[in-house]
């Protein structure tokens, strides 16, 4: 623990903050996965704002700051938020986002007014509700089985356990109703009821986390880990695991960073979680921006390469007097860096031969080019034969499709056409063995 001590002087406090932060974050992140999948992310945001009047009313009615009453009040208002939003949307004809916005801001306003009137002298400071006092979690302690532990642990541990239990017991139901509510209904369980149970748990988790970690961290943890995990995997089980891992990592790193720069812990944890999301947005292997960009680029390169090959093939067909120069070839497929790169990569693959004055197909390149031209002309013939398109309208769609027609589709097209000797323009459709890979461009 020397390294920890070097970072923060008070190791025990640091560990407690990390532990409680990690537990809170995990409790939120697990539920958050389902919120993200059900496209209800903002309901977490709405509920955590709207519980304010619930807390105050519970205080007014009970006269104490007893945690149990607070839970009940917040639970009631949390469910009310969800129900009111639903009612306004379904029966009032208000768009869902507007309905939610109206409901939670109005309830929040009501809460602020009630606090002003009834909360004087009571420790119901909206500032504390928002930012939390995670740093001081260590100070407020209770005795449990002879050990002195922070009070926050006593409130968050059961909630985390309850959330886990809920996920395990209703695993199948949650899975089906999250991805296909209609199927859930036909299978005979009430997706609506499950929705409200989920809302109740969100409200419960919110309140349990509230006092110590503040609502902004709750909102962040309800959405960010789930959304991050959703970018990284397509399986629910893995998604939940990843979300929990991100939640714990945010707690640990957030606390370290907050100690390092002497600033608000809950805010820092949210920021760290946001950084995780940013990293996933950029570098997720399947859904990240980088891989999408690389994929798009490779696709574009394939298309430009195939356009070059097809063009050279057509020139050979026309028996042009003069071979095309490299610069002309690049200009002919649109020019620019991409075309230059395409020409270069064709030469590297041994599909063309180039010198400073001429570009020619090699035998290998000719075979490949004939496949592309075959796809193009078969598609043209198909469009004329079956869609009845006029002759001057078929080239353009075929120029798009040629990159996506693989061997199987070529065979099918050929089988559907009576004659495959010539295309509608009267040009010969080249034969040759089917291309090695099924699709050419992705």
């Amino acid at each position: 623990m020397a390294w920890l001590q070097s970072l923060s002087p008070d190791t025990e406090t640091t560990l407690w903050v990390m532990l409680i932060g990690a537990m809170t974050n995990t409790a939120c992140a697990l539920l958050g996965c389902y919120l993200v999948l059900r496209r209800m992310s903002l309901l977490g945001d709405a509920i955590s704002h709207a519980v304010l009047p619930g807390l105050v009313v519970a205080f007014i009615l009970s006269g104490t700051l007893n945690v149990g009453y607070m839970f009940l009040g917040a639970l009631a208002v949390g469910l009310l938020t969800s129900a009111l939003t639903e009612t306004l949307h379904r029966h009032g004809g208000v768009a869902e986002d507007a309905a939610m916005g109206v409901v939670f801001t109005s309830l929040f306003a009501l809460g602020v007014i009630l606090i002003k009137r009834y909360g004087s002298g009571v420790d119901l400071d909206p500032g504390c509700v928002l930012e939390g006092l995670l740093e001081f979690v260590d100070l407020n302690r209770v005795e449990v089985a002879g050990h002195s532990v922070p009070r926050a642990l006593v409130s968050i541990a059961p909630v985390l356990a309850l959330n886990l239990l809920f996920l395990v017991v209703f695993w199948k139901e949650l899975l089906v109703s999250s991805f296909d509510p209609a199927l859930a209904t036909t299978m005979g369980f009430r997706a609506g009821l499950l929705h409200y149970v989920l809302m109740a748990l969100v409200a419960l988790t919110t309140v349990a986390s509230f006092e110590q970690v503040g609502s902004i961290l709750v909102i962040a943890m309800l959405i960010v880990p789930g959304a991050t995990a959703h970018l990284l995997t397509d399986r629910l089980r893995t998604m939940l695991g990843l979300a929990a891992a991100i939640a714990v990592a945010s707690a640990v790193l957030g606390q370290l960073a907050a100690t390092r720069w002497n600033t608000n812990t809950a805010g820092m944890m949210s920021v760290v979680a946001g950084m995780f999301y940013l990293a996933a947005v950029c570098f997720s292997p399947r859904y990240g921006m980088l891989s999408v960009l690389v994929g798009n680029f490779r696709n574009a390169l394939t298309i430009v390469r195939e356009d070059l090959l097809a063009m050279l093939y057509r020139l050979e067909e026309l028996a042009a007097e003069r071979p095309l120069g490299p610069r002309e070839a690049i200009q002919a497929v649109g020019g620019g860096v991409l075309a230059t790169l395409g020409l270069w990569s064709l030469a590297r693959r041994g599909e063309i031969q180039r010198d400073h004055s001429a570009v020619r197909l090699t035998e290998r390149g000719r075979r490949r080019a004939s496949q592309i031209v075959r796809s193009h002309r078969l598609w043209e013939a198909y469009l004329v034969r079956y869609l009845g398109l006029p002759l001057d309208h078929v080239h353009e769609p075929a120029a798009h499709m040629e990159h996506y027609i693989g061997g199987r589709l070529q065979e099918q097209l050929a089988a559907d056409l009576e004659q495959t000797g010539t295309d509608p323009h009267g040009r010969q459709i080249p034969h040759g063995e089917p291309p090695p890979a099924s699709g050419t461009a992705e």
Partner: protein
């Protein structure tokens, strides 16, 4: 009213009005929560500006807030476009992360300078409308004027962008730039309002007027004007309530509840006034309001029940026409899925209307009821024949379809049906023969269950 109250009144009304107008577009574009996003994402900008400038410089801090707010909206657009994250999650992520960063920065400020500096930032989170001074109002007026000029100049573009962005793109308009202009104006108004009403309540001021106005009109121009008014009204009402002016007028304080008698904060009162207007519209707006819609639904149900009774009575007495025999209620029940009390109540109501005469044996059509029933049966059977002849549906399948639609067929459609069927040699004026057996009861399963 004191001069200070006037200042606050003008400021909040102006702010509410211009927020309402711009919020309309957000509501129409299903981006109602963009206000929430903007106001949360403004916080780190405020703090950064403070850290850079080293003092509370009003313009500089607003500029910082404007920048990060707009950056937040831009990030949401970018993330939605490039990844599988949906808009709701993207809004939540940017909102919480930016706000978290704001809290981190404000905590840094607090540790640097002691509590004093924080108090300044606090007012941006919770709002301090009552602390408005003349300079703030002038600033709000300037921003409002600028925002309104943008809306007026780009009215046509914003309109198309709100209702059919794909069309705007096909017209070759710079949709991205227009979107940026719209969101930029929205961001400007939002950060201007933050010191007055705070983060959460600013979001409400952007949504409420637009959502309320939507109930009263279907046209964008009137909707904008209306939401301008519906934004200004809560601003005025809330300020007057908060300043105790209303209490002065009424002679008692309508907000006198609870143990403490402090003045209530203006921001929440403005929002709750707006909520009251919204709820009123949800309930009582003509056509779109809940009461109007329930009323329309009830009227349709009652018309349907009335017409069903008349037609059933007619068809049961058809063999003995032109006599009008009495039909027992029990016999009615074998033909429709009514409960006994419903049928009895229906007969009583219809006899009050003079369409049915009650006899000891049951009910029979009155003269006027017979005339009406003849028309209804005619509509029903014309539609049945149309279905059989034109839609090629089997004669024993048409009754149910016709039963459902007959109440909605207007005079014109019935005339058109008549023309078509008459052209094929159908009867012109009399009630046509039923193409299927009348005695078959509907809902046989249910009837047998009842027994």
């Amino acid at each position: 009213m004191t001069f200070l109250t006037w200042i606050v009144l003008i400021g909040t009304s102006l702010l509410g009005s211009v927020a309402g107008v711009l919020g309309c577009f957000a509501v129409l574009r299903r981006r109602a929560l963009v206000g929430d996003l903007l106001s949360h994402a403004a916080l780190p900008g405020l703090c950064l500006a403070f850290l850079v400038l080293g003092q509370r410089h009003f313009g500089g801090m607003l500029f910082g807030a404007f920048c990060t707010g707009l950056a937040g909206v831009g990030l949401v657009t970018l993330v939605c476009r490039w990844t599988r994250t949906k808009e709701d999650a993207a809004v939540g992520i940017v909102l919480s992360t930016f706000f978290g960063a704001g809290i981190v920065l404000s905590s840094v400020i607090q540790n640097q300078e002691g509590g004093g500096a924080k108090a300044g930032l606090e007012s941006y989170i919770y709002g301090q409308a009552a602390g408005m001074v003349l300079q703030d109002v002038l600033w709000i007026a300037m921003v409002s004027a600028a925002a309104l000029v943008v809306v007026v100049l780009l009215f046509k573009e914003f309109k198309v962008l709100s209702f059919d962005p794909a069309f705007a793109r096909t017209q070759g308009w710079p949709t991205l730039a227009l979107d940026l202009a719209m969101m930029g104006t929205l961001a400007l108004v939002t950060v201007t309002g933050l010191p007055a009403v705070g983060v959460v309540l600013m979001a409400a001021m952007l949504i409420l007027p637009g959502a309320t106005a939507r109930f009263w009109t279907e046209r964008l121009g009137p909707m904008l004007v209306l939401s301008g008014i519906l934004g200004a009204a809560p601003g005025t009402i809330g300020t007057l309530l908060s300043a105790g002016v209303v209490a002065g007028w009424l002679g008692f304080d309508p907000l006198a509840f609870g143990p403490t008698a402090t003045n209530l904060p203006t921001g929440p009162l403005i929002v709750l006034s707006g909520t009251a207007l919204f709820l009123f519209s949800v309930l009582f707006a003509p056509r779109r309001g809940a009461v109007a819609r329930l009323w329309a639904a009830a009227r349709l149900r009652s018309t349907t029940a009335r017409e069903n009774l008349l037609r059933t009575l007619y068809e049961l007495s058809e063999p003995r026409l032109p006599d009008r025999p009495a039909i027992a209620v029990e016999q009615l029940l074998t033909h429709r899925a009514w409960r006994a009390w419903q049928a009895r109540w229906l007969v009583r109501w219809m006899s009050w209307l003079g369409l049915v005469e009650r006899t000891p044996e049951g009910a029979r059509l009155s003269e006027s009821g017979l005339g009406k029933a003849r028309g209804l049966v005619r509509t029903h059977r014309l539609w049945e024949r149309f279905l059989i002849e034109r839609a090629d549906i089997a004669p024993d399948h048409v009754d149910r379809d016709a039963d459902m639609i007959e109440h909605l067929l207007g005079r014109e459609i019935v005339d058109a049906l008549e023309e078509r069927l008459a052209a094929q040699g159908g009867p012109r004026d009399a009630v046509p023969q039923s193409p299927h057996e009348i005695r078959r009861t509907k809902d046989e399963g249910r009837m047998s269950k009842d027994k």
